[in-house]
């Protein structure tokens, strides 16, 4: 207790320490995407400022102004602008740390906490994984503790932190209610979110090394829940994009292919129905199991039957498709398709062309024999599978086929299609994902970016487009184990231990649940959920009623909780005494007004038979001892014992 004459106490070292902790957490959560010149100086400034505040030093105002002016200049020098996600975040984090150099009043701390909360939220714009969200929410605890520490006579730091965490935990029900009910925007109010963000995953072109970058990326690309059993690994080819045009270096879809008609498809066996949950890629390519029958809503087919979303996948997407694993695609090839399927750039790579011509003259018009010859060459002629191939020169295909003989899927697919085309067989490169990881804890397939793959499709008369995977000829375990395992060779690694795999499975199940229930909860899903509860999302009155009703219920519930008094042990003793008194009153032993509890029980005991009288007297003595003997609360066990004995008394 203190009587202070100043209108508002200045922030003490503890609240400043908690504030510094909050800002440090914010800085750490942003560190992954801040420019390298920014984060370490900010961390240093924060530490120095913390030490300085503890010694009661003020930060020199001139230096502060200089830093405040330098920060935006540095951001502009790095990004060229102050606006947008990345420069905005850099500016916000920088200003937040600089705000700590000016914390002389409670108001400054208040502003800093509010700004820290905002900056914490902006960290989620860079990734909304379960872990990231949990970390950001956890960082709210020191923020709230800072506010608590500013209160007069706030208590010990541990108690403050506990209060902050408890307050956050108690807020969870209302949080979930609000999360479900807050109306989602179908179209953004401003800006085009996510446009500046780097695209991830398979892209619509394949330049050297493009897939190689993906192969070391362990983040999830999408997850597939199959209606039936998960198909065997060798069938798990997910097509994302078909690449027709080769310019000697890069494979692209080609502008001419855009105007082709949809290739007709005839299913030759059972079909698979499955639901894919995409991670955000910020592009429109949607993988589908080879070969999708229909395009789901809000997507469309390209001519070569790969799926395109109507809008870039900025926040994950769920779609359900049926695919046939045995099929006949485009049994009759038109002239335009044939021309595209035989396109070769200029007169590069003469040795590869010569090799193809050699096969052509040797096997004649037998495409299957030519394909076999190519695959045999890959298998037998010293080709290696490696994720770090030696660099290729100008004549890419020749260099790879005859000199380096080392590469991964994109090299093999590219060289194979080149050879086929040179030998007069229509062929095209298909990029997508292959394999995936069947989660044992839940029945779904996890496909990572590292499962990216490229293979070939060749057109055979009567059979249509047929999938050929030249990588499988070099390294069959690429298909059975996955790219990285294939590159490293077989054998169990430490991280493949059973318990670790199980743990990772479970964590991925959590991630999947998170993606489905939180990240993917868009306007459409909200509408579906509300309709199930009888709310008509089309009529605003209905939505307002639901929101208002939920708010009123939450308010009333909160008020009821606020008015509720804790049922502590002291009250337990008092209530038990009241119960005993009521029972005695029913037996014609009412308590006189103003009669002390002990006196009352002793008086009643005089009217009872000896055994019960002794018990009642013991209760009386014990009650007085529990209630009045000590200033400390009565021991819990003794109180329970008293309650039990009072209950057992049968007057």
């Amino acid at each position: 207790m203190s009587a202070a004459r100043v209108p508002a106490p200045r922030p003490d070292a503890r609240s400043f320490g908690l504030l510094s902790l909050t800002v440090a957490a914010t800085l750490a959560l942003h560190a992954t995407h801040l420019p390298l010149w920014l984060s370490p100086p900010l961390a240093l400034l924060l530490t120095l400022r913390w030490l300085g505040f503890r010694r009661g030093r003020r930060f020199p105002a001139l230096l502060r102004y200089a830093l405040v002016l330098t920060l935006p200049l540095g951001v502009i020098a790095t990004y060229g602008t102050l606006f947008g996600r990345l420069p905005g975040a850099a500016l916000a984090v920088g200003l937040l740390v600089l705000k700590l150099t000016e914390t002389e009043t409670r108001r400054d701390v208040h502003i800093a906490v509010a700004f820290a909360a905002f900056t914490l939220m902006s960290a989620l714009l860079f990734g909304q994984s379960l872990l990231q969200t949990l970390l950001v929410c956890a960082a709210l605890a020191p923020a709230l503790a800072t506010l608590l520490a500013l209160q007069p006579s706030a208590g010990a730091t541990r108690a403050i932190l506990k209060t902050a965490v408890l307050r956050l935990a108690a807020a969870l029900p209302v949080t979930l209610l609000a999360f479900v009910l807050v109306p989602r925007l179908a179209t953004p109010l401003w800006g085009a979110p996510g446009m500046q963000q780097a695209r991830t995953g398979i892209s619509a072109s394949m330049s050297p090394g493009a897939i190689g970058q993906l192969l070391v990326d362990d983040s999830p690309a999408f997850r597939v829940g199959f209606d039936g059993p998960i198909p065997p690994r060798a069938q798990r080819y997910f097509r994302a994009v078909v690449l027709w045009h080769f310019d000697g270096r890069t494979w692209t879809s080609g502008s001419a292919a855009r105007h082709l008609p949809l290739e007709p498809l005839q299913a030759l066996g059972p079909t698979q129905r499955y639901t894919i949950s995409m991670e955000a890629t910020r592009q429109t390519l949607l993988p589908a199991l080879d070969m999708p029958l229909q395009a789901p809503a809000a997507t469309r087919f390209t001519a070569a039957r790969t799926l395109l979303a109507d809008r870039p996948v900025d926040h994950g997407l769920r779609y359900t498709v049926s695919s046939a694993t045995a099929y006949r695609l485009q049994p009759h090839l038109g002239a335009r398709e044939r021309a595209l399927g035989l396109q070769l750039p200029g007169d590069d790579d003469p040795r590869a062309r010569a090799l193809a011509l050699h096969w052509r003259t040797r096997y004649g018009d037998n495409p299957v024999a030519i394909i076999d010859a190519a695959l045999h060459r890959f298998h037998d002629d010293g080709y290696r599978y490696t994720l770090t191939p030696p660099p290729l020169g100008r004549q890419q295909i020749d260099d790879f086929l005859f000199d380096t003989r080392a590469g991964f899927c994109e090299h093999y697919a590219s060289a194979f299609v080149f050879l086929m085309r040179a030998a007069g067989i229509p062929a095209r490169v298909v990029a997508g994902y292959q394999g995936g990881y069947a989660n044992r804890a839940a029945d779904y397939l996890l496909v990572r970016q590292a499962d990216a793959h490229a293979w070939a499709e060749v057109w055979l008369r009567g059979r249509g487009w047929v999938r050929v995977d030249p990588t499988a000829a070099v390294r069959p375990d690429r298909i059975s184990l996955g790219a990285i395992a294939a590159a490293q060779g077989a054998g169990a690694r430490w991280y493949q231990a059973a318990w670790l795999v199980g743990l990772r499975d479970r964590i991925d199940v959590l991630n999947r649940l998170w993606d489905q229930s939180v990240v993917g909860f868009n306007a459409l899903r909200q509408r579906g959920l509300l309709t199930r509860f009888g709310v008509d999302p089309q009529r605003w009155q209905s939505v307002a009623l639901a929101l208002g009703g939920a708010l009123a219920v939450a308010l009333a519930f909160g008020l009821a909780l606020a008015l509720r008094e804790p049922a502590g042990e002291r009250d337990a003793l008092g209530r038990a005494f009241d119960r005993l008194q009521r029972r005695l009153t029913r037996r014609d032993h009412p308590r006189q007004p103003g009669e002390a509890p002990a006196h009352y029980l002793t008086r009643v005991a005089a009217d009872l038979p000896a055994e019960q009288a002794a018990a009642l007297r013991a209760l009386s003595t014990q009650f007085v001892r529990l209630r009045y003997a000590s200033t400390q609360p009565a021991p819990r066990l003794a109180v329970r014992d008293w309650i039990r004995r009072a209950r057992e008394l049968k007057p």
Partner: protein, 319 residues
């Protein structure tokens, strides 16, 4: 009656504690739900605006994790409204004990707060222009001394006390006005200097007798802390191995100070009161017996603390 006044009257009737001007009430005062008011603080309003910005940002970027974070922060903050309410609810002002002070001096008043149900943290009591921060643990009581500024002698109504809390996050302020039906008596100020008492019979009062010189004491009693060491009966103490104090003969009629209102003609009433207050004080300090004659009553002759307070009260309450 103007519309505003009628509105105010109705408000005061319906919500008696919203306004400072509420009828005085007897102790103990328990803070029930009808007398606690909660509004957002300036920081609360600012924080709310920032939450709205966060909400719009999260919705605009269609970022559900950010929306969840905003909802969590918003719910925790909205919940702190109940925190402020609970900080006050159930608190009792049980008793008030006032000390004595002369007009112009600070009067110390002890307010005894009790928390019969649970702990109350982050409390702040505003009296006049000062604030007193305190908190109470569950099931305990706390005496909070406050200084009251006094100006005039006579009864001083306890000013309205504003008990408030912004617990836990400073976003909402809950407050309640307390107007306990308690008044404290402020004694008149003494004049700083003036003539010694003038009795009607004796032209010059004898100086207080120097008892140390005579041996004419009526008895002995045990020494108590605070007694003048000059009155210790050293010989008797040596014989009894404890410190003993001489009790004097009751002062004779000559030693009685006769302090009379009517003897101070020609002065205005307040000056008379101040002079009488000084005489009473001097008599009390000197261990004198004195009699105070006021227009309507006569006190004494007597000596000691009770007589002193009776005299000062009578002086304080003179019209």
């Amino acid at each position: 009656m103007s519309l505003l006044a009628s509105l105010r009257a109705r408000l005061a009737r319906r919500h008696p504690s919203l306004l400072r001007q509420r009828p005085r009430e007897a102790l103990p005062i328990e803070l029930g739900q009808r007398r606690i008011y909660v509004v957002p603080t300036a920081f609360g309003i600012g924080f709310g605006a920032m939450l709205i910005v966060m909400l719009l940002g999260a919705l605009n970027y269609n970022n559900n994790a950010a929306l969840l974070l905003t909802c969590l922060l918003g719910a925790a903050c909205a919940q702190s409204m109940y925190g402020a309410f609970r900080a006050l609810h159930g608190l009792r002002l049980e008793a008030i004990r006032a000390g004595h002070a002369e007009a112009g001096q600070a009067l110390i008043v002890e307010l005894r707060f009790a928390a019969p149900r649970r702990a109350h943290a982050g409390l702040c009591l505003h009296v006049d222009a000062t604030r007193h921060d305190f908190s109470i643990a569950a099931d305990t009581a706390l005496s909070l001394p406050i200084n009251l500024h006094t100006e005039r002698r006579g009864w001083l109504d306890l000013p309205a006390l504003k008990l408030e809390s912004t617990w836990p996050f400073g976003l909402f302020r809950a407050w309640s006005w307390l107007r306990p039906d308690v008044r404290v008596l402020v004694y008149p100020a003494r004049e700083t200097a003036g003539p010694p008492p003038l009795g009607s019979g004796a032209e010059s009062m004898p100086a207080p007798r120097s008892h140390e010189l005579g041996e004419d004491y009526a008895g002995l009693r045990a020494y108590q802390p605070g007694d003048s060491p000059r009155r210790i009966a050293w010989k008797a103490s040596a014989r009894n191995a404890t410190l003993l104090l001489r009790l004097h003969e009751p002062p004779d009629a000559q030693a009685l100070w006769h302090l009379r209102w009517n003897a101070l003609r020609g002065l205005d009433p307040e000056t008379r009161i101040m002079r009488l207050a000084r005489w009473v004080d001097e008599a009390q300090r000197g261990g004198q017996r004195w009699q105070l004659d006021l227009p309507a009553q006569s006190l004494g002759p007597d000596a000691g603390s009770a007589h002193y307070h009776a005299c000062m009260s009578a002086l304080a309450l003179l019209p």
